[in-house]
Amino acid sequence: MTLDTAPPPTRTTAVAPVRSRPRRGPGRFGVHAFLMAVSLAFLAPLILAVYASLRPYEETSEHGYFSWPDNLSLDYYQQAFTDSGMTKYFVNTLIIAVPGVLLALFFASFVAFAVARLRLRGSIVLLMLFTAGNLLPQQVIVTPLYVLFNRIPLPYWMSDSMTMFDSYWAVVLVQTGFQIGFCVFVLANFMRTLPQEILEAAIVDGAGVWTQYWRVTLPLCRPALAALGTLQFTWMYNDFLWALVFISDGDKLPITSALNNLRGQFFTDYNLLAAGSVIVALPTLVVFLLLQRHFIAGLTLGSTKG
């Protein structure tokens, strides 16, 4: 490539806009070599996992994962879906993550609205309560919740274990409650950047709190909500601990925690595990590649203001 032809800034991403100012010098090549090497090193483990999942165990146990293939097949994927019932675990994940994301966004957006727009007394305390709550290590709250959920009875139609423990309700509740904190923090920051005049105009027109929130503020927050939704779905999908602790019935585990089921007690077929890992990773990778802009926006909304 020639150094002088700086690429025209056609596809500016949300994060790294292509600078039009051309740079020259020997450093340029070094930067490329370095970034390319690091990028490949970062991608290598993923590629290795995909590669391992396509090869039979006998072959890799003889020649190692780092060898030329004799035969490649999708057998392990088929096995993961048929014998190990990955579909079921996917459904479990959706049962937990979809309500989790929606509830967290709904409640957090109202709290953020109240904190950022209503100028209630004690707003800052409220904001701190939620923000700090999300930053606590999960293990601090796991023990009492475990005990508590074991003692909260639920009717049979809600939970076949008859308690909150070992039910989807427990995991949805904890996911929602825990993640509201992050969403409040991000949305409150976002809502502060909205012009106050719009809200004032609505108030003059006689809009109540609900209208100010639902009809005036929320539509303006659509980009932030999309970004947060993407991010939250990935996080809830990736969660490992909550389901591990609050669900004891293996059939109810979400997909990330169920990955352990592919591990045998005495013999572990790592190629099957690799296939399982790829299956688990695929949805988040697809979400990331399709919604990269939203995804990154969600992470950075909370960190850089304005």
Binding site: R11, A16, P17, R23, V31, L35, S39, L40, F42, P45, L46, L48, A49, S61, G64, Y65, F107, V111, A114, R119, G122, I124, L129, A132, L135, P137, Q138, Q139, V140, I141, V142, T143, Y146, V147, L148, L173, F178, I180, G181, E200, I203, V204, G208, V209, N238, F240, L241, L244, V245, T256, L259, Y270, A274, S277, V280, A281, F288, Q292, L299, T304
Partner: protein
């Protein structure tokens, strides 16, 4: 609080005059009440309960009896897994903070210089972040496993290959590499966003004053990244304290991979069910993290007032 001190601004009175009909109060009560209750029920209540339970010898079933600070004394003096776990958590923090985070900043600066293919670099470096740490743990096994792992194949291990994940002196470093794989991309994306927000006029002014690129970065750009630095710092600390999934996926956090979070989990879902003792470990985690969280919040709220 600051409400009362502030002089009534004209715009404020619009809100004040028709402040909150009964319907409004109802909406606020319900929609603010539910999340607050949920937060108290799921987060703050249990946190408080952990502190209280840490002074008991409860096993989760029988009566709760107070044992004062016995759990803590046992923890510090005769629980063999405790100090290794503390060391590992500190190591985790140091590695992410001193290696992974600066590396992420370096990558962000390089990508931000507007090189070609920056979109590709950015995606490649960021990709591990969307993976579950459990998946990262499994992938680590493919790379580091003794007999068939890719690393030993590259190094040509010979007849006596290194057991990267089985050797208790070695495995924590390999796991740290795997954790850093994810953390670096996360940090990079936060800094990229921060760098984008830096006013180019600042850099130009520095260049006109004859500052070198290095001087410009350290004296001009880095100080303006302060809010990002704080966020990155908090994330690094929290990640280091929360670390759990990855070691649990590899070997359930045993044999050289002990972490405080693993000890808590072991004490409640194991056969032992030592709720009181597990809570004491959790409280240690809580105290350490609260130190950082409070610092962060004070910064945040100070910014809030200047807004």
């Amino acid at each position: 609080m600051r409400e009362r001190e502030a002089p009534p601004v004209p715009t404020r009175t619009v809100g004040r005059r028709r402040r909150f009909t009964r319907r409004d109060a109802g909406v606020i009560g319900v929609l603010l009440g539910i999340p607050v209750l949920l937060d108290v029920f799921v987060v703050w209540g249990p946190t408080l309960a952990s502190v209280v339970l840490s002074f008991t010898s409860w096993d989760g079933i029988g009566d709760i009896s107070w044992v004062g600070t016995d759990n803590y004394e046992n923890l510090f003096t005769n629980y063999p897994a405790f100090w290794p776990a503390v060391r590992h958590n500190v190591l985790w923090l140091a590695f992410l903070g001193l290696v992974s985070t600066p590396f992420g900043l370096l990558l962000a600066v390089l990508v931000d210089r507007g090189v070609r293919f920056s979109r590709f670099y950015q995606s490649a470096l960021y990709m591990p972040v969307v993976l579950s740490l459990a998946v990262v743990g499994f992938i680590a096994q493919l790379v580091f496993s003794r007999d068939q792992g890719a690393l030993n194949a590259v190094l040509g291990g010979g007849t006596n290959p290194t057991d990267w994940l089985g050797d208790p002196d070695l495995n924590i470093w390999m796991i740290l590499l795997a954790a850093a794989w994810r953390h670096t991309g996360y940090v990079m994306i936060l800094y990229l966003a921060g760098l984008k927000a830096v006013d180019p006029a600042l850099k130009e002014a520095a260049a006109i004053d004859g500052a070198s690129e290095r001087q410009t970065f350290f004296r001009v750009v880095l100080p303006t990244l302060r809010p990002v630095n704080i966020i990155v710092g908090v994330i690094t600390v929290i990640e280091a304290l929360r670390a759990f999934d990855i070691v649990y996926a590899v070997n359930k956090g045993r044999n050289g991979l002990e972490l405080l979070s693993v000890l808590v989990t072991d004490n409640i879902i194991g056969e032992a069910s030592r709720i009181g003792f597990g809570s004491a470990i959790a409280v240690v985690l809580l105290l350490v993290s609260m130190g950082f969280v409070v610092t962060f919040l004070v910064q945040e709220m100070r910014g809030e007032k200047n807004r």
